[in-house]
């Protein structure tokens, strides 16, 4: 009962004064004693109220973080997933569009090159045959010139059409790169969400007193890490094919 002895020591005098004042019908002394007793209780009461307020504030903070996290988990993460899937689709579409145009341009350039080669041969043949002086020479030149003219007549319009088509395809390849702007904006918005999530989780961990357990997902260890990201990928990394070749030749390959 040591606590109670302390209380007796603290309040005993005031209670005695109070009881004496009652017996004497001394109103002023009675209220003074009551005031003294109340003043003694005040600091403890305020400390309790402060503690309660602190707890309430913490609970409210936690609630606000948790409800924000719930909102992120319920709405924004599925949204971000959909946005990133859209990014993959857009890059896929742009890459295929570019590949289409490249595949269509290749044969056109190849044809121009092949026909220009044939024309060069025709020209070489003309130079070889168009020799000699006098009428005979002129006649041979005219005769040799005809196939060359025909070949040129066939080649020039086709070369112009093909080149124009290649130029149009290149312009479309240029336009197809527009995906970078759009996907960049989407990815940036997802980065913003990840930042917010990081902050909310960090705050929650602080409120929990850092009692966060580390957990790892059960992944295939052979799954790979994906492309090297500067500043993120840890460990020794080959930055170019020459590094790979040097490493492999060191291993005897």
């Amino acid at each position: 009962m040591s606590n109670f002895s302390v209380l007796k020591g603290e309040y005993g005098t005031y209670v005695d004064t109070l009881s004496e004042a009652l017996q004497r019908d001394d109103e002023s002394a009675f209220f003074t004693a009551v005031d003294n007793i109340v003043h003694m209780r005040e600091p403890k009461m305020f400390a309790e109220i402060r503690k309660l307020t602190g707890d309430l504030q913490k609970a409210l903070d936690r609630f606000s973080i948790e409800s924000r996290l719930a909102d992120i988990a319920e709405h924004e993460i599925p949204g971000a997933r959909a946005r990133l899937t859209h990014v993959i689709n857009m890059t896929d579409e742009a890459a295929h569009r570019t590949l289409d145009l490249v595949e269509r341009s290749g044969p056109l350039a190849e044809r121009t090159s092949r026909e220009a080669g044939a024309l060069l041969d025709a020209f070489a043949a003309f130079r070889e045959r168009a020799t000699g002086r006098g009428f005979e020479g002129i006649a041979r030149s005219v005769e040799a010139f005809l196939p060359l003219v025909r070949a040129m007549e066939a080649f020039l319009p086709a070369a112009r059409t093909d080149s124009e088509q290649i130029r149009r395809n290149l312009a479309d390849v240029l336009l197809a790169q527009g995906y970078q702007d759009l996907t960049g904006q989407i990815i940036r918005s997802v980065i913003k969400l990840v930042e917010e999530l990081e902050q909310a989780l960090g705050n929650l961990a602080n409120l929990s007193g850092g009692l966060v357990e580390h957990a790892t997902l059960g992944e295939n260890p052979n799954a790979g890490h994906g492309p090297v990201v500067p500043g993120v990928t840890e460990g020794e990394v080959a930055s170019a094919q020459t590094d790979v070749d040097a490493l492999l030749s060191g291993l005897g390959m």
Partner: protein, 127 residues
């Protein structure tokens, strides 16, 4: 090796498969089949008469390293030349692939020249 040798290109991205297919075509190899991960590729390899495997590493389902190990473990496929064409560039991974028996390792992004050079090297060594 003749130009009509049969290639299997394994990558989860169709654009990358198409790029590799185009490059092989430019090199004169037009017999190219595609698969989108190790799990689809392995039965194709076991069923078909492929001469050369080009595979990515990081794929859903079965990763390229597991495919390489499965190929080396299969007595009918064990000697098939395998080229890893991947963005995985960690030193440990390259060593691991070499230990698993890869014949060539090309990191993305790559050039047509690199692909040709490594391909010729592997095919030359196999003669």
């Amino acid at each position: 090796m003749s130009k009509d040798m049969k290639f299997l290109v394994v990558d989860d991205f169709s654009t990358m498969r198409r790029i590799i297919k185009n490059l092989l075509h430019d090199l004169g190899y037009s017999n190219v089949t595609e698969a989108d991960d190790g799990k689809t590729a392995l039965p194709m390899l076991q069923a078909g008469s492929f001469d050369f495997l080009i595979t990515d590493w990081n794929m859903p389902g079965m990763p390229g390293l597991d495919l390489l190990k499965a190929v080396r473990a299969d007595s009918k496929l064990a000697k098939m030349p395998v080229m890893m064409l991947t963005a995985e560039a960690k030193r440990d991974q390259i060593v691991e692939a070499a230990k698993a028996g890869v014949n060539g390792y090309v990191i993305k992004p790559f050039t047509a020249e690199t692909l040709k050079e490594k391909l010729d090297k592997i095919l030359g060594a196999g003669k």
